[in-house]
Amino acid sequence: MAAHDGDVLGTLLMRESLDHCVKCTICETFCPVSNVTPLFPGPKYVGPQAERFRVGDEPSADASLDYCSGCGICTQVCPQGVHIAEINTQARAHLKATNGVPLRDRILARPTLAGRLGTPVAPVANWTLRNRALRRLAEQTIGIHHRAPMPRFAGRTFQRWARRHTALASERRVAFFHGCGTNYYEPRLGEMTVALLEHSGIGVDVPKQDCCGLPLQSNGLFDDARAYVHRLAERLAPHARAGVDIVGTSTSCTLMLKREALEILELGDDPALRAVSERVFDICEYLLALHERGELNTDFQPLAETVTYHAPCQQQGHGIGKPAMELMALIPELEVIESDATCCGVAGTYGLKREKYDIAMDVGAGLFRQVADNGSDRAVCDSETCRWQIEHATGVKTVHPVEMLHRASGLA
């Protein structure tokens, strides 16, 4: 593993890549949003085409850009290497800087703030989030859809657990970037990750950390996003510089550190972020690499059950395929049905918004149908917001692949 030659951030600069667009329209055939709503005319139209008309400080002519969910599939399928999704994210930030960012988006973009406020009063906060009258009120006042899948506060944080946990003494170490989702909503996932890594003889350090800034970036608040990701990179960089790999259970947030903040926020000059970027891995990517080196404890017990696996689009943005499928294939008797749907629709905070909730549910309809038709009592997905969306839409319990490996390792 090495960083590609130093010129990558130069020659493949986001906006310049649009000159490679040959108008083949392949991105439009894969776009999950424009396939279900006429409100979004498609990635080629608002991306490489409209970008040519966005000049300097002139107002952006196309508000339809705000209906891009940022799933990134257009960039993945482009045969010419155009960074369509990244161009659109930058243009959306410009649009919002011109038109103003709603209070709703400012709230949704700060999961740490919500986590800090909600955790100590979790019972009240969870009741509030599930109270229909209050949710209707929230929809009318700030525009968060009353049915949008909001997570439950765990009432405790993973950081607190980690401080009390005695880390395994081992030469082989990783640093764990757990993200906000694990810290405030799914601390059990963090505990399972630590146990699973220790099961293979790897000691886990849990640096003090905060949000990576991805929700701020998605909602067009680039200055705040830069501050957050820089602060996080400063905290993780000492590990990276010491030659320690950084693993994360939140696949969109590891992608933020690996690539998106450098590209979309144009932070290529941030030495801490560059150091972190070269060392950060999605947890399943890391576990599979361990396995390829013969270092993963694969003494798995049989799990005689059937699950549906959905690879989230932002996990696909890593360009690593579906390592969770290969890992789960190591578990005896576990039958994994791979979903061929591209997107669950929620795309982070997109599907929570009043005007986008129905679009997100339509985008995910194919996936929800597959999960329901498979009749399995569990679905598996690498991304937290996608898990919440799938559970919301299907009622099927949806877990991170780590949970399957943790159970098969006899650690549950």
Partner: protein, 438 residues
């Protein structure tokens, strides 16, 4: 570093054909690609040999003289039998594929003569059954060709096609019908938007009613843009034939090509079922070598460079249009993935292009030259790498747009590359390759 029996580079027709054939034979296959390949841009037909340079009626008969006059043509490495085998293989993959009973028909024995969207007869050997009804070889066969289009579909103009067909001198009379139907909930409708609408019986019912209302002769056949369904194309096509009581056929449109997407979907799903993996945004930028063999590929993924080990590499990255080959402003050519030698580029001062669009341009046959085992050759004609095979539009020696041979070359050389790997693996003692035995 991962290790696979075979890494296929490229996910167009050549790469997918090689990958599916290998994976179904039991090999561990990884496909690396920058993005989606050219299937989405092709008409979905497999043209084997349309012009040599006169129009070819029977490719099997024309192939011998055609190749004898062109010793550097890649079909020489496949031969008529190899092309037949590849066509039969694809016919079977489609017939047993995820969109069955959607099927292909045709053979090397004769070219069908299908109308293009601008009403020009085009020779093609192997085509979706949904297009075969457009065969113009027997002229109008009694009735008119009624070309149906949609005002909202900007990429297909029925009056243009009907007018040109009528003037083409092959004894076909044609007329056009343009409908104002717009699929519900669509802003800017392209071919795929219509294809999704045609998957829905209610939309087809509206089409049938409006076309029938314009009046059809008993012997007429009805041409549609190739948008008749994407999830259930057989159902859409037969539904229209039944509803109209006439032969219905599809005519390929501008990209995005729905028949091309169907072919991609069938092969992609066949690969998934056979356990093959596809990684997009994985750009091969070089290789690590052990003597005359590639041991691993260097792959740019995002901002990183990864290594992917392989016993065999099938290179199917396309030609100049797809970025498999590059030509800079000083006329230096390179093969972009492995830096293989490129032959056929005119030297400085030599003629590069001629004035007519369809002239014999000296640059046109540039590409990677290979031996009979599809191994890349240097300028002296010696193989440069033992375990790399090249397939598809990267190959030197063909002029696919003039010969109407592009998809035939991609399919047959991709399939041939897989056969060569399998044949070599059955005789090798290599433990990794052992898995690739049939």
């Amino acid at each position: 570093m991962s290790h696979h029996d075979v890494v296929v580079v490229g996910t167009g027709l050549a790469g997918l054909a090689a990958a599916v054939r290998l994976a179904e034979a039991g090999a561990r296959v990884l496909v690396l690609a920058k993005g989606i390949g050219a299937t989405h841009l092709s008409g979905g037909t497999v043209d084997v040999l349309g012009y040599a340079p006169e129009r070819v009626e029977r490719p099997a008969d024309a192939l011998g003289a055609f190749l004898a006059a062109r010793p550097g043509h890649p079909y020489n490495h496949v031969g008529g039998d190899g092309i037949r085998t590849a066509l039969a293989w694809l016919e079977d993959r489609v017939a047993n594929g995820s969109l069955a009973p959607y099927a292909y028909l045709g053979s090397l024995d004769e070219n069908l003569l299908l109308p293009t969207a601008i009403g020009v007869p085009r020779p093609s050997a192997f085509v979706p059954a949904t297009m075969a009804g457009g065969d113009l070889r027997r002229g109008g066969a009694g009735g008119d060709v009624v070309v149906v289009g949609f005002r909202a579909l900007k990429d297909f103009h029925p009056a243009l096609m009907a007018d040109a067909l009528g003037r083409s001198g092959i004894g076909v009379s044609a007329r056009s019908v343009e409908l104002d139907l717009v699929p519900e909930g669509r802003a800017d409708v392209n071919a795929l938007g219509f294809a999704r609408a045609f998957d829905v019986p209610a939309f087809r019912g509206q089409v049938v009613a409006q076309v029938a209302a314009r009046g059809l002769g008993a012997e007429d056949r009805v041409a549609f843009p190739a948008v008749l369904g994407i999830a259930d194309p057989h159902g859409a096509w037969t539904g229209l034939e039944h509803g109209l009581g006439r032969r219905v056929f599809e005519v390929p449109t501008l990209p995005p090509s729905v028949p091309g997407m169907r072919l991609f979907a069938i092969l992609r799903e066949a690969l998934r079922r056979a356990g093959g993996t596809v990684l997009l945004n994985n750009v091969v930028v070089g290789a690590e070598r052990e003597g005359p063999r590639v041991s691993a590929l260097r792959v740019r993924v995002g901002l990183r460079e990864e290594r992917r080990g392989a016993d065999w590499v099938v290179l199917a990255t396309g030609g100049f249009a797809s970025g498999g080959l590059e030509l800079d402003s000083r006329w230096a050519a390179r093969e972009t993935a492995l830096g293989l030698p490129v032959t056929g580029v005119p030297a400085a001062g030599d003629e590069r292009f001629r004035s007519g669009y369809f002239d014999d341009h000296p640059i046109a046959r540039a590409g990677v030259a290979v031996d009979r085992e599809l191994r890349p050759l240097d300028s002296a004609g010696d193989p440069v790498l033992e375990n790399v095979l090249v397939a598809g539009a990267t190959l030197a020696g063909a002029e696919p747009w003039k010969e109407k041979s592009g998809d035939g070359l991609s399919l047959s050389t991709g399939h041939r590359a897989a056969e060569l790997v399998l044949a070599a693996s059955t005789t090798a003692a290599d433990p990794h390759a052992a898995a690739a035995r049939i």
